[in-house]
């Protein structure tokens, strides 16, 4: 279980997140819903360790991971955009985390896991394709497959469908829901769309709009 206690994040002298707390149960999908500028993305980045906390703590299964380096936290994240490695093929993107999390995996085992994930997201034939040759929806699927490949304890999804058109978005939401159920991944999802949250999450938490949005 993930526990965030009294999280405060200050960036460039501005308080972005104030006294935020949340619990995410193992195996559940929790959606954090709020308007733009409410600090949703910052909360996710602070949980996975990309940005530091001014105060507060992040615990996983009762262990304080606030000071743990990012790469040791076993928390995966799908960013809103531009997080795929454009100089790697699709297969190498998905395999990226496997070599660090499971250094003993042989190349054959890595290839097998990559193929398994490509099948799961319905893109078996895309392994050798270049990232820049994929559509927006395909790129989102690859980002998801790459994030779940090392079997993280917790997966953070930052507005994963925001840049997609309506039809594609709903089709992908259905697919992602099936994938998350199949892999039994614990998820904390951030979105500004309550319908998206309703379709994916078992629990929804609303976050208050910024107290001074013009600041």
């Amino acid at each position: 279980m993930l526990e965030v206690c009294n999280m405060n994040v200050v960036l460039g002298g501005v308080s972005i997140v104030q006294d935020f707390s949340i619990q995410v149960l193992t195996g559940s999908t929790t959606a954090l819903v709020g308007p733009s500028g409410s600090g949703k993305t910052t909360i996710l980045q602070a949980i996975c360790g990309v940005i530091p906390l001014a105060s507060g703590s992040v615990l996983y299964d009762g262990i304080d991971i606030t000071e743990q380096p990012i790469h040791q936290r076993k928390i995966g994240m799908v960013f809103q955009n531009s997080d795929l490695f454009s100089h790697f093929s699709v297969a190498r993107n998905i395999a990226f985390g496997l070599r660090f999390v499971s250094p003993r995996l042989s190349p054959e085992m890595i290839a097998e896991r990559v193929q398994e994930l490509l099948r799961l997201i319905g893109m078996e034939k895309f392994g050798d394709r270049h990232i820049n040759d994929l559509s927006g929806g395909e790129q989102r699927r690859i980002a998801l497959a790459r994030a779940i490949a090392p079997r993280p304890h917790l997966l953070l999804l930052d507005e994963p469908f925001s840049a997609l058109d309506s039809t594609l978005r709903w089709r992908l939401i259905d697919d992602v829901r099936d994938i998350l159920i199949a892999t039994r991944t614990t998820v904390l999802l951030v979105t500004h769309d309550p319908h998206e949250a309703e379709a994916l999450a078992t629990r929804t938490v609303a976050i208050a709009p910024p107290s001074n949005p013009l600041k």
């Binding site: 990012i70 076993k74 531009s82 795929l84 985390g97 994030a147 090392p150």
Partner: protein, 531 residues
């Protein structure tokens, strides 16, 4: 709608066509300039003085071989050391925001725009006498001079790395080192290669620094060309050395030049404030402190030494600059200052329009080959030794009706030719990044092609134009290699005067050299802060 599209289409075609036509007409000027002041002098050297058998003899000469060997290894070592010194500060400045960052970038850039003789003078001031002339000083000076190249070229590329890519790699279990080697390095590799090529060429063709810090023992090919041509009058060997140098420089630039000349997407990400990231603060602070110490100390010591005569504090070195005491040595500071400013102003007035013409042809041309050709031809002076250019000019323009050997214009034309590639680089990318639709809009709104050019193109590239002017002025003010060949009594510039003062025995004369160099550094820093 159809009518609008037709009209829009016609406007697009006519805008591009008229711009291209105008650019081609304008292209006559820089082409003629490059032919007259670059290709003709170099061609003349090759035709008049080059003899393959002399080149073979030269290569067989053990003295020349040791010069070539020294030139090669000091350039390689200088390049490697520059990368080692520059990488931490490049990381700090491209990835983080911190108070005083602009000052640090300016401080690192100052040595690059200063005359090499001043950098050499500063190093001589800071090193103990036993190391005053030798390899340590040469390497130290080359590193200080070239750190800015890594900061500017690699830093600009590094800033284009999306922060999410790095974060994604870390969340997937990669350590900071894994992330650098697998994600960041492939992205900045070509920029590093490009910087390595340029630094190697600058160190390989080093002249001012070697003249002052090399002493009688150490000489590069560039210095050897000067000694053979000017001091020994042996133009055949000097020419063979020019050819040898051109071959090495051409090879290095060919290997390290970016494969594609397509301008990079001008997308940079605003770095985070380091104060929010306590873990990285220590690293950034150490990088900044080490760089300030490494780059700033020599100039500070040089400034202090300008007040020291025979181990006592004195203002006489500064007083002597302007009271005529140095006149018997053929040193006239006010005349040299006036010459430097005059030559720099004329260089700006000639170079910027020439660069603008070339950049316009490149920007308005639709074929990749044309762009590549312009980039290569116009960059050629950057790859050619200034000493070789000076030698070529003296040999070429030595007969009536164009006997310009003792004319100041020849000196200025060398400055313009050397500054042209840098000015061109400042203007090409900004011009290429202007969307054609912007010009079309101006045309549809009734602007003539000339008005479109003025109100769209020139208005947008106003700042790059200032950068081009600044770089041209800096090149002219600091140029030493070609100037050493072309300067005559009455045409001395600040760098040649400083070299003369530092080359003379006597404590007070040396200190006056430091005083003049300090004055120049203060002027440059003032100009940079104002800019």
């Amino acid at each position: 709608m159809v009518g609008y599209l037709d009209k829009h289409h016609v406007a697009m075609i006519t805008t591009l066509a008229s711009l291209r036509r105008a650019a081609i007409i304008c292209g006559v000027l820089p082409t003629a300039w490059l032919f007259l002041f670059y290709f003709l002098p170099l061609g003349t050297i090759l035709i008049r003085a080059f003899d393959a058998s002399i080149l073979i003899d030269v290569l067989g000469n053990s003295g020349v071989r040791s010069v070539l060997w020294f030139t090669l290894w000091q350039a390689t070592l200088s390049t490697a050391l520059t990368l080692i010194v520059a990488f931490p500060i490049t990381w700090a400045c491209s990835q983080w925001n911190f108070t005083g960052k602009r000052f640090i970038v300016a401080l690192v850039t100052v040595p690059f725009v200063l005359p090499t003789v001043i950098v050499a003078g500063a190093i001589r001031a800071v090193l103990p006498e036993s190391l005053n002339s030798g390899v340590v000083g040469i390497l130290f000076a080359h590193v200080i001079f070239n750190v800015a190249i890594v900061l500017r070229i690699v830093g600009a590329r590094w800033q284009q790395e999306h922060p999410n890519t790095v974060a994604a790699s870390r969340t997937l279990g990669a350590t900071a080192w894994n992330t650098f080697s697998l994600i960041t390095w492939p992205m900045i590799r070509s920029a590093v290669g490009n910087a390595v090529g340029i630094i190697f060429v600058f160190c390989f063709t080093s002249f001012g620094i070697i003249r002052i810090l090399g002493g009688p023992r150490y000489s590069t090919i560039e210095v050897e060309i000067f000694i053979r041509a000017v001091q020994l009058g042996d133009t055949s060997v000097a020419t063979a050395l020019v050819v040898l140098q051109l071959v090495v420089v051409g090879l290095v630039l060919g290997l390290t030049m970016p494969r594609s000349l397509t301008p990079l997407k001008i997308v940079t990400y605003r770095p985070s404030w380091i104060s929010d990231y306590p873990r990285q603060q220590k690293l950034v602070r150490s990088s900044v402190f080490a760089t300030v110490l490494f780059v700033g100390t020599p100039f500070l010591v040089m400034f202090i030494n300008s007040f020291r005569v025979d181990n006592n504090w004195s203002l006489s070195p500064w007083r002597h600059l302007f009271d005529g005491t140095l006149s018997p040595m053929g040193v006239n500071i006010s005349k040299a200052l006036g010459n430097s400013v005059l030559f720099a102003s004329i260089t700006v007035l000639i170079t910027v329009p020439l660069a603008l013409c070339l950049a316009s042809i490149s920007a308005y041309s639709t074929t990749h080959t044309a762009r590549r050709l312009i980039a290569i031809v116009a960059s050629a002076p950057l790859a050619t030794s200034a000493v070789a250019l000076g030698l070529g000019m003296i040999i070429t323009f030595d007969q009536s009706p164009i006997d310009w050997r003792s004319h100041w214009f020849l000196l200025v034309s060398a400055h313009c030719t050397i500054a042209l590639p840098l000015a061109l680089r400042s203007l090409t990318a900004p011009l290429q990044s202007i969307p054609l639709s912007m010009r079309d809009s101006a045309r549809i709104l009734g602007a003539s092609p000339l008005q479109t050019w003025w109100y769209v193109d020139i208005a947008i590239i106003r700042r790059p134009l200032l950068v081009a002017a600044g770089l041209s002025a800096a090149v002219s003010l600091g140029e030493f290699g070609a100037t050493s060949f072309l300067t005559r009594t009455g045409n001395e510039t600040i760098p040649t005067t400083i070299a003369r003062l530092l080359g003379r025995p006597g404590d007070v004369v040396q200190s006056s050299g430091y005083a003049l160099a300090s004055l120049f550094v203060l002027l440059v820093i003032g100009a940079m802060i104002n800019a």
